[in-house]
Amino acid sequence: MHEGAIAENIVDILKETKEAENIDKIVKVRLKIGIMSGVMVDALLFALTALKEEERIIKDTEFDVTEINVKSHCVLCNKDFYFKKGDDIMLLCNKCGMPLDIIEGKEMEIIDIEAEQ
């Protein structure tokens, strides 16, 4: 359950942001999680809810997660390949057989927050 560690990192960044932006209350946090990041969204939301007990800063915060599908690219054919959750991810170009580069799908990011001042 490494999502516990991920949740703690999120709270650390929120604390810094609250301080820097002079925020009173964080109402909503938008996160971006790639389907190849190794983070399970349900487990992350569970870990964040569990942290609410001890972290007052997120006590009433809503977390909104956007999952990012895999976008991969063949440099030789200049062609993109997309995979969504549940697909077998095949990182070989179906035209030329070259390895594909993952362009999207590994992200773990805090996009923005909605706050009361």
């Binding site: 490494h2 960044i13 190849m36 070989l92 594909l100 773990m108």
Partner: protein, 219 residues
């Protein structure tokens, strides 16, 4: 209500610590390997045999993050290798800060630093520990469905070692299926069949490490 743009990576702290590790190791010309697998796949045994084959020609240090038993660290210490154990009690993965702290307690006057991660095919894949190469081990008794089940881990591998091939005759394990699926999720990783019992495949594995180290030293 106001919207505040954050746009920060959740694991930025781990990333910067991993970067610190890379800088320290590069300055000291140390090449680092991060071993990951399920519990019992053979990390410690493979590390032990690898050290035996390399220690006459390379200085080696070892960071043990596999909490199973501290007998693991003892086995490696017995080979005369500078070893430090990370107390991972409860943790399901190593992170870069843990490795940084362990590096303070170990000799970096070496050519090769071996890190044994926590036995787990999920969590360690998400945390960069600053190693040059990730070694992911799958053992035959675990079954031939694991690459598909754990795509993130097999995708971060620089090489995939298939261990315990001495047991192939006793299990339903479709090697060509595993190799095909490994190539699909990670076309760049070399797959090497090993047995840490019979030592079959070790020549290939050892020459891969030697090639990696000499390539790293060219820069």
């Amino acid at each position: 209500m106001k919207r505040v743009v954050v746009e920060r990576k959740i694991l930025e702290r781990n990333e910067s610590s991993a970067q610190k590790i890379r800088t320290i190791l590069k300055n000291q010309s140390v090449f680092a390997l991060n071993f990951m697998s399920s519990p019992g796949a053979g990390k410690t045994t493979i590390i032990e045999e690898t050290i035996r084959m390399l220690k006459d020609n390379y200085g080696i240090s070892f960071i043990d993050g596999d909490l199973e038993t501290d007998r693991d660290a003892e086995r490696i210490k017995a080979l005369g290798i500078d070893t430090v154990q990370i107390n991972t009690s409860g943790a399901c993965h190593l992170d870069a800060d843990m490795v940084l702290r362990a590096m303070e307690k170990i000799s970096l006057d070496c050519d090769l630093l071996i890190i044994e991660n926590v036995g787990n095919l999920v969590c360690p894949a998400t945390f960069d520990v600053g190693a040059d190469k990730n070694v992911v081990i799958l053992s035959v008794p675990e079954g031939d469905d694991k690459v598909k089940k754990y795509p993130v881990m097999f995708n971060v591998a620089d090489t995939i070692l298939i261990n315990k091939t001495d047991l192939l005759g006793f299990m339903d394990f479709d090697m060509s299926k595993v190799k095909k699926e490994a190539k699909q999720i990670n076309p760049k990783a070399e797959v090497i069949e090993l047995s840490a019992k019979t030592m079959s495949g070790f020549d290939k594995w050892i020459s891969l490490i030697e090639r990696w180290i000499s390539e790293a030293n060219q820069y």
